[in-house]
Structure formats: C-alpha cells, structure tokens
C-alpha cells in the first residue's frame, strides 16, 4: 500500500511495517479473530449496561448526596435488592472507575469546558434549583462553595462516558453480527469496521442536561461544540487504555520507590499495560469487567477457552488477554484514523510523517502487553 524508500529502522520495525501496510498491532490469525470478535460481543453487551447506568446516574442521581440505589436504574424492588446483595448483577462500579480515570486525567475539549466560566454559570443555576427545598445541602454549599460544582463536573463525565459507550456498544454488537454473517473474516476487517464507525460518529455532539423540578438545565449545551471523537474517544483512550485502568489487585506500585512517574502524562498503567494475572492469594479477579464479561461470552469463544489446559479455572485471565487483544485493535483503528496523512499517500514527506507518527505510538506501547500478544 505504501512504498517508502527505506524500511523502518525502529527496533519494532515489524510492527511499524505492519501498520504502514494497513495491518494491525495484533497479528492476523484465525484464533485472534475469534477471540477479538467474541470478547467484543460480550464487551458490547456489558457496555450497553454500563452506559445505561452512567446515563441514569447523570440524569436521575444529580446532586443526590447518598445515592444508595444508583446501580438500580430506578427499579428498586426486593428481588432486585436480594440479587444485588447476592452479587447477581453487573459491576457498575467498573464504569465509575473508568469515568473517574477520565475525570482525573482530563484532556480534550470536555476538560477545558468544565473549567470554563460558562460551565460554572450553568452548573450554579442547576445547583440553586436543586438546593431550593434542601436545607442541609444549602448549608453544605454555603460552607464549601466549590464542592457541588465539582460534583456537577463528575456528573458531566458520567454523562459523557455514557454517550461514548453507547456508540461503542452498538459498534461492537454490530461487529459481532457482521462476523456471524460471515462479513468479518480478518483482524483487518475488525480494525476497518471500528475505524469506520469512529469516523461516522466523530462529530456526534456530546451534551448534558438535567431536569430539576420540571425545569431543564443545560450543563453542556450543543453550542459548547463538544464532539464524540475529539472530546470523549481520544481522552478515553489516553486515560483508560494508556495512563490508568482499574485493574485492582493485579499490581502494587510504590510511589516512594519511584515506581510511579512524577509526570501524569508518563503514566503507563492503562488497559494495554495491565498484567492479566492477579497477584497473591487474595482471590481478586482480574477486574470487575472480566467478571461481567464472563457472563456473556459467546458459545464459540467459550468452547475455545475450554480447550485450554485450565478450562474454566482461569476464564477471567483468558478473557482479559482476549480483551487486551481487542483493545489493540481499537488502538490500531485510532492510530490509523488519526494519521497525519492518508496511509496510501505517494508523497515521501507525508510517508515520513506517517512513519514518525506510527513509530511514536509503537514507542509508547513498547512497554505494554503488545509484545506478549504477538
């Protein structure tokens, strides 16, 4: 596809060349395809539940001080409570961890907007409306005037991540349907599908409004100009894929031993870097997400997992490995979708710029699980 004059001299030149020729970070094998599509189907189902809950919290738990039933999506019944207590439920906490990761790392237009005077004005209006009949909350607001606006920022992230995952959920479920129809036959098809759907949704507006006492308050109006790709997808990949990810119980870091970078932008504890093997004997599964996805693994992928030596015992580890493979496909789509120049450009300077861009990404992913999935 591309014909640069010299092959890449990068230590991971195989990967650079593969990306330059339209391939993916993940090698093209039938097993990889099966794993990626299968796990993305279950991920799509789980994301569907996550985005609905995030949206519910953003819209209906707005400035609720003790949102005890925030994971119930408004359906508080005894059977559901018992199921919840018996842990027969989706781990919505995971979605919140991702939201908090985005919130902490920031980035994109959303972060900028939430620090703007316009946001503060809109947030204060909604806060005043919400506090009018609530004396304790008014007291809190008087004592700590920055507290409730910060909570509104958090609510905005709930909503933004919900909107982002809504698109992603549909994208992954559509991918699974296409695979079932025989239209997805290679990893390259997976990457192409994701890339195309990201492009399709790129300019979707990200908005957030709450209704308080029958009155609608726009927190993020469409006029703020926030869009799907630049203001949610890219910050999400930066925060969750690269910088941090709530793989609790997998690795312990000691900041005092300088195992944590002093610079937030250098963090590399994201999903693509996470160790799928849990540490020690605490019995903590490799993330709540893997536990959630384990309920929705398609039969063909489950059969594939059962063929391995440990069978059901290490199901969550295997899901985690497959999940990381699938996320390398999403990352490939993001890299190819954000190349400075078309991949098939004939201009040498453009090819060199593309190569530099790709090599920068490969450098950044060199310490990730990338090499272990080759």
């Amino acid at each position: 596809m591309v014909a640069t004059s010299r092959p890449s001299a990068h230590p991971l030149s195989t990967l650079v060349t593969r990306l330059e020729t339209g391939g993916a970070l993940l090698p093209e094998t039938p097993d990889n395809l099966l794993e990626v599509v299968g796990v993305l189907k279950s991920y799509g189902i789980v994301l569907d539940a996550y985005w609905q809950n995030l949206t519910y919290i953003a819209n209906h738990q707005f400035l609720v001080l003790f949102p005890v039933f925030k994971y119930f999506n408004g359906e508080v019944t005894l059977p559901k409570l018992l199921r919840h207590l018996g842990h027969d439920r989706i781990n919505y906490e995971f979605a919140e961890y991702c939201m908090k990761s985005m919130f902490w790392h920031g980035g994109g237009g959303l972060d900028t907007y939430l620090d703007s005077p316009e946001f503060l004005t809109r947030a204060r209006a909604a806060i005043q409306a919400k506090l009018r009949p609530n004396l304790p909350m008014r007291g809190i607001n008087r004592l700590f005037p920055d507290f409730l606006p910060e909570q509104v920022r958090v609510m905005a992230y709930y909503s933004a991540l919900g909107q982002f995952w809504r698109v992603m959920s549909h994208m992954f479920l559509e991918l699974s349907d296409l695979y079932d129809q025989g239209k997805i036959r290679a990893i390259a098809d997976v990457v192409a599908h994701i890339q195309q759907r990201l492009v399709d949704a790129a300019s979707l507006p990200i908005t957030y409004a709450v209704t308080v006492h029958g009155q609608r308050y726009d927190i993020i109006p469409e006029s703020a100009g926030l869009t799907f790709l630049a203001d949610t997808a890219v910050p999400y990949i930066e925060a969750v894929f690269l910088r941090s990810f709530p793989f609790f119980g997998t690795v312990s870091y000691n900041a005092q031993a300088h195992q944590i970078s002093a610079h937030q932008e250098d963090f590399n504890y994201g999903a693509l870097f996470a160790d799928p093997l849990p540490i020690g004997g605490a019995g903590i599964p490799p993330t709540l997400l893997m536990q959630d996805m384990s309920h929705f693994i398609p039969d063909y992928l489950h059969a594939f997992y059962m063929n391995s030596s440990r069978g059901e015992d290490d199901l969550r580890v295997k899901i985690c490995v497959s999940f990381q493979k699938s996320m390398f496909c999403v990352t490939t789509a993001a890299i190819l979708g954000t190349l400075p120049h078309p991949l098939d450009t004939a201009e040498l300077p453009q090819q060199q710029a593309n190569r530099a861009y790709i090599e920068g990404w490969v450098d950044r992913l060199a310490e990730s699980r990338l090499l272990s999935v080759q």
Partner: protein, 522 residues
C-alpha cells in the same frame, strides 16, 4: 487377627501378579486400592477392639516356623505399634490412591507397593527378633525397585545408595540380635524371652551401640543421613510419602522396642549422647534445609531435623517422653507425608521443584491456590503452631525433656523456630508474588490431586485440637516402657520422672485415683 494386615496385601500381590497383560493400569490400581482399603478397614477394626487399659501385647499370634533357628511367627500389638500401624495403613492407602493412573509396568508397581505394605506391617507387629529382621529387610526390596524403576533422573544412584545404607543397617541390627541371643546363653530370638535375660553393662552398651548405628541409619541420625535427601529427591511422590511417613519410623520404633526395651541399663549410659545427637540432627537438618533450593530437599532435611525431636524424647525415656516420642512419630508421619504430597503436586503440575524458578503459585486463577493454602497449613503444622498435632507432640517432648536435658532441649527449641524460617522462606518464594512466566500456564488440577492432602490435614488439625484421641492408645505402653527405663535409671531424676512428669499427661481414665483431682489432661 494381625496376620490379615500382612497377608491381605500378599494375596493382592498374587492376584495382581496373575492378571493378564491386557488389564489396564487403572484397573490394577483399583484392585490395589480395594485391597489396601481392606487393610485400612481391618486396622480400624483392630483399633476399635484394642483395650487401652492394657500395657502389654494384644491380638497375639504365635506359630512355629524354624525352631532350630529360633524363628517363630510371633505377632502382637501394643500401644507403641498401634498408632504406627494405623498411620502406615492410611498413608499406604493414600499413596496408592495418589499414584499415577497411567504408571508404566503397573502390575509390578502395585505388587511392590503391596509387598511394602505387608513388610511394614510385619515389622511393626513382629515379636520375634528374627521375624522383625525379615520384615525389616523385606520392605527394602520393593523400595529399592520402585526408586530404581520409577524414580527421577538419578534414580540408579539414589536407589543404590539407599540399598547400601539400608543393607548395612540390617546387617548391624542382625549382628546385635545374634550377639544378644548368643551372649545371653538362651539362643532365643523371642522378644519376651531375651527381654528378661541379664547381661553385663559393658556388653549391653556394645550391643546397644550396634543397634543404635543400625537403626540410626534408618532414622536417620546425622552423619548417617546422606542417603535420605538423595532418595527423597529421586523417589516418586508416593514413595517419598511412605519413606518419611512410615519407613523412617521403623528406625525410631526399633530403637524404642529393641534398644530401650532390651537394654534399659545401657540406655541410661548412652542417653546423654543420644540427646546430643538429637540436637545435632535438629540443628543440622534445619540449617541445611534453609540452604536448599529444591522443595523436596527442604522437606527431606526438615525430616532429618524433626526426627531429632523423637531422638531427644527417647533419650529421656520417661513415660511422658515415650508418649511424646510416639506422638511425634505420628505427627511427623502425617505432616511430612502431607508436605511430600503437596510438593509432589507442585512438581507434577509445574515440572520443577526449584524455589528459584517457582513464584506466585497462590495465584487464584492460574496457580495452585488450594495446594498453596494447604502448604501454608502444613508449614504451620510442621513449625508446631498450636491447634495442630505438631504442637502437641513437640510440647510433650519438650515438657518431658527440659528437666532431664535442659540445654539440648533449648537447642532443639531453636530448631522449631528454624522450621518456621525455612518453610516461610519456601512459601514466600514459591507461592507469593506474581506467577512466574515459565509456570503461568499450568495444567488443570483435580480433586484427586488434593484429596490426600486434605485428608491428612484434617487429621493433623483434629488430633491437634483433640490430642487425647491420639495419646490414649499408647498411654499404658508409654508408662510401661518409661517405667522400665526409670527403674533402671542411674540418674537422680528418675523418681521425679516417674512420679512427677508422668502425671502431666495422665488421663482420669487410667490415673491412680489419689492423683486424679490434681492433674490436668491433654
């Protein structure tokens, strides 16, 4: 009744030996299991029929065999033999249960295991010196063959070393028995007959030293121990279990039965030296265990150390210490068996026992979390944590020895602490941390792999919480053996041992009425 324990496995040998070649290994294993289940059940019946108020031999059998040689088929069981027979029946059953279902040459393998079962039972039950020697030698053959055929890479070397050491042990024991028979003038090998003969103290000491070296090889006493780590490392797991759990006990059993039992006067002369040897065993075994990197060698040297506690107890030779020695024999048999089973599972699943390679095996998803948990429990038991049988045994040993041999006892207590050092070191290196990459894709583990360890651990905890269920069987025999020694004692502490310490573990059921209100029970 006792003959069943010997002849049922031998009938099994004939049955399995006559099976056609086409019979599968798993079917042969089932037959062996059925037979050893019969032995185990019969042992249970014997235990239920055993009268704990008697100190002498029970279920005695006597048949003439080669009268001209003094060899008679005399069997009997007392409180010393009963716990060891019970433990060996259980461990042999578990060893056959845990044997590889697809073992090569299964007919030979299971025949040898059954011969071993018969030999061990015969040795514990024999009441004729020559008969004991015969059974003592009989168990040597199957062990040698099993190690030589199914052992590890250096099995030839290990099996030959085991054969030479144990053969020398047998020769020395036979020499001592012949010497006793000749010098006593009776030329009898009947235990009850020779027991009541009198010999000059010097002669007794010489014969006892010969016996001590003979049984010392089997125990093993440092520096006669070098065969043990090599044999353990090369032996298959079931044999390691039996070696540590049962066969080493033949040495301490022999010392008690034939050393202390036949030469109580000489025993008093050699006892201080034996206590020193006990300390050397404990400290040497523990320090060398700390330096090992092979899990099996760590457990093997741990065995060397823990056999030192038994030596210390039998050096004291008071009723309480004899009870402690028997308890420690049972305790060590169970705990070392448990440790070898667990190491065997780790080796079978990971292909290595090297603590520098293994790491993170407690990993809940891809490691061996239950095996790791059991290993932690086994290490706790071995280190004498209260609530487990190891604590009971070591406490009784120390309680009985502290006044007689205070310095050796304190030094042995250091050995107990060192047990925690090498086992915690092992656990820390092998089971904690991130699962090392070479073993990050282990094969599945099945309940069959776990059950033997769980059964033994259940016993270790049960007997730790309710030690009287273990002690009551050997109470009267301990009293008799200990009294035998104290009556011949040349130490001024004898009356205290007889009248003071003994009551510490007396139970109301067999205690003199005038003492019972004042004495605690275990």
């Amino acid at each position: 009744m006792l003959s069943v324990l010997i002849w049922l496995p031998l009938v099994g040998v004939i049955v399995i030996g006559c099976l056609p070649q086409a019979v599968s290994a798993s079917r042969i294993r089932q037959i062996a299991l059925v037979l050893t289940t019969g032995v185990l059940a019969w042992t249970g019946i014997l235990i239920s029929q055993f009268d704990i108020s008697l100190s002498g031999l029970q279920f005695q059998e006597s048949l003439p065999w080669l009268d001209t040689l003094g060899l008679t088929y005399q069997l009997g069981m007392d409180g010393l033999a009963l716990p060891l027979v019970g433990m060996s029946s259980l461990l042999i059953w578990l060893s056959i249960y845990s044997s590889d279902a697809n073992v090569t040459r299964p007919r030979l393998y299971y025949c040898l295991m059954l011969i071993l079962s018969a030999g061990v039972a015969g040795a514990f039950l024999a009441q004729n010196l020559l008969l004991f020697f015969l059974f003592y030698e009989v168990e040597l053959v199957p062990l040698y063959l099993i190690i030589a055929i199914w052992g590890g890479a250096r099995r030839g070397y290990a099996a030959m070393k085991f054969l030479i050491y144990t053969a020398v042990s047998g020769i020395l024991i036979l020499a001592a028995f012949f010497g006793l028979a000749l010098l006593s003038g009776t030329f009898s090998f009947d235990y009850d007959v020779v027991k009541h003969q009198t010999l000059p103290l010097g002669t007794q000491v010489v014969l006892l030293v010969v016996l001590l070296i003979g049984f010392g090889i089997k125990i093993p006493i440092v520096p006669l121990h070098t065969w043990l780590p090599d044999t353990h490392v090369e032996a298959p797991t079931p044999v390691s279990v039996l070696l540590a759990g049962v066969l080493l006990k033949l040495g301490t059993y022999g010392l008690l039965r034939f050393g202390l039992g036949l030469f109580p006067d000489a025993w008093q002369v050699l006892a201080p030296g034996l206590a020193v040897l006990a300390v050397i065993n404990v400290l040497y075994g523990s320090f060398v265990a700390i330096a090992q990197t092979d899990m099996k060698k760590i457990v093997a040297y741990s065995s060397v150390g823990h056999m030192g506690y038994i030596l210390l107890a039998i050096a004291v030779a008071s009723p309480l210490s004899i009870a402690g020695a028997i308890a420690q024999m049972v305790s060590h048999g169970l705990i070392s068996g448990l440790l070898f089973f667990l190491v065997g599972v780790v080796y079978a699943k990971t292909g290595t026992r090297d603590v520098t390679v293994l790491r993170g095996l407690l990993n809940p998803e891809r490691g061996l979390p239950l095996i790791g948990t059991l290993m932690i429990a086994a290490a706790m038991a071995s280190a004498g944590i209260p609530g487990m049988v190891g604590f009971v045994a070591e406490f009784i040993v120390y309680r009985s020895s502290i006044l007689v041999f205070p310095i050796p006892t304190l030094l042995c207590m250091i050995g107990t602490a060192l047990t925690a050092v090498y086992f915690l070191n092992l656990i820390n290196r092998v089971f904690f941390g991130r699962l090392s990459d070479p073993v990050s894709n282990l094969p599945a583990i099945y309940w069959k792999d776990r059950i033997p360890s769980i059964v033994i651990l259940a016993l270790v905890i049960t007997l730790g919480l309710q030690p009287n269920w273990m002690m009551r069987w050997s109470e009267r025999t301990s009293l008799a053996l200990g009294s035998l020694a104290t009556e011949h004692s040349i130490t001024s502490l004898a009356p205290l041992m007889r009248d003071g310490l003994i009551e510490i573990f007396r139970t109301p059921s067999v205690m003199p009425a005038h003492l019972s209100p004042h004495l605690p029970t275990l």
